[in-house]
């Protein structure tokens, strides 16, 4: 029986592409709706209601903008980083590492890239280091202390199997 487990499949990449596009679209729609509300308020402005309309436009712009910033900085960017990472894992050249797994509890992030957990594989006196994307680390977490073979692309785990 083949016990090799891939972190991402081609289907996962397609799913990520779809979700990433949807999140981007949601942020764009929110931005457009905010601008639309502000433009509408401008169109309804006259000398008598100008102060109230200005307050409403500023408030709409601030709240709408904050939602867009949140959407862009979290779901949209994270999904794009994960998508790029998954494609890299599927298309990159793999090397294998073997040893007993120890997975760090401390999540880290490289600026402008994915969140990950560092890990080490100890094989006798030799210790090899690698990383696994945080969103897919749970399965590996359950294998801590066991002897594994890791398939690694550019230092990141792409697949693993228990030995």
């Amino acid at each position: 029986m083949d016990s090799k487990r891939e972190l991402y499949s081609r289907q996962d990449v397609k799913r990520l592409e779809k979700t990433s596009k949807r999140a981007g679209l949601a942020a764009a729609l929110m931005a457009a709706a905010t601008l639309g509300v502000c433009v509408l308020l401008c169109c309804l402005t006259d000398q008598d209601n100008a102060a109230a309309m200005e307050k409403a436009a500023v408030l709409s712009s601030i709240l709408g903008g904050w939602i867009v910033i949140y959407l862009y900085n979290n779901p949209v960017k994270d999904l794009r980083y994960e998508l790029g990472h998954a494609q890299m894992l599927l298309d990159g050249e793999r090397e294998t590492l073997e040893g007993v797994l120890a997975l760090s509890r401390q999540r880290m992030r490289i600026r402008g890239s994915i969140r990950f957990y560092p890990l080490t594989l100890t094989d006798g006196d030799e210790t090899r280091r690698s990383k696994v994307i945080a969103s897919r680390a749970d399965a590996l977490r359950a294998m801590e202390g066991k002897r594994l073979r890791l398939y690694v692309v550019n230092g990141y785990v792409a697949a693993w199997e228990e030995l």
Binding site: C42, Q47, A50, A51, E54, A57, V58, I62, W66, N73
Partner: protein, 182 residues
């Protein structure tokens, strides 16, 4: 979620500030009127309830006027050209001479002053609106003519030399409306 927001707080603060300035600028453009459709009073006092005074004067605005604006001189710190084009000025007697080129002689305004005037080289330019000795003045509930630590001075109302309402008498109507405010 909150951790993510707090870690990028500067983006949220920056956006709030940008929104405030951008829409403030847009609404200033939207509500501004052409010089022929607005009357502008410039007051040489920083302690001024400008919006409330503009609202009170708007209730008596002449026909054809869309906007009555009241600003302190500080408002024009970056735009002295617009300051020169105001319709009316309210200036203290000690500073009036500095702005003499922006004032129009009262005789040219069709205005017959009922009281004391501020004169320069024998020509009357200003109409007294605040008396430092009695502490009484026009629109005194909107304009703080004196402040603690300051030497009180008389204030005069001047007509703008570059006003768009030199001929139509609308600046004069605004002056009369101002005098009727307590």
């Amino acid at each position: 979620m909150l951790k993510n927001i707090f870690s990028q707080w500067y983006k949220y603060v920056l956006w709030a500030l940008l929104s405030l300035f951008f829409w403030g600028w847009i609404f200033t453009l939207l509500t501004d009127a052409r010089p022929a459709q607005k009357l502008v009073l410039c007051v040489d006092r920083p302690e001024l309830r400008s919006e409330a005074l503009a609202d009170a004067l708007s209730e008596q605005k002449p026909e054809g006027i869309k906007l009555v604006a009241v600003h302190s001189f500080d408002y024009y710190i970056f735009d002295t050209e617009e300051l020169r084009c105001a319709d009316l000025y309210l200036v203290g007697e000690n500073e009036a001479e500095k702005y003499i080129d922006s004032f129009r002689p009262l005789a040219e305004t069709g205005f017959a002053s009922p009281g004391e005037t501020w004169t320069h080289e024998g020509v009357a330019y200003g109409w007294k609106v605040y008396d430092a000795q009695t502490g009484e003045g026009a629109a005194a509930s909107y304009i703080a003519y004196t402040a603690e630590g300051e030497t009180a001075q008389d204030y005069y109302l001047f007509f703008g030399a570059e006003s768009a309402h030199r001929e139509d008498g609308k600046a004069l109507r605004l002056a009369e409306a101002l005098m009727n405010l307590s």
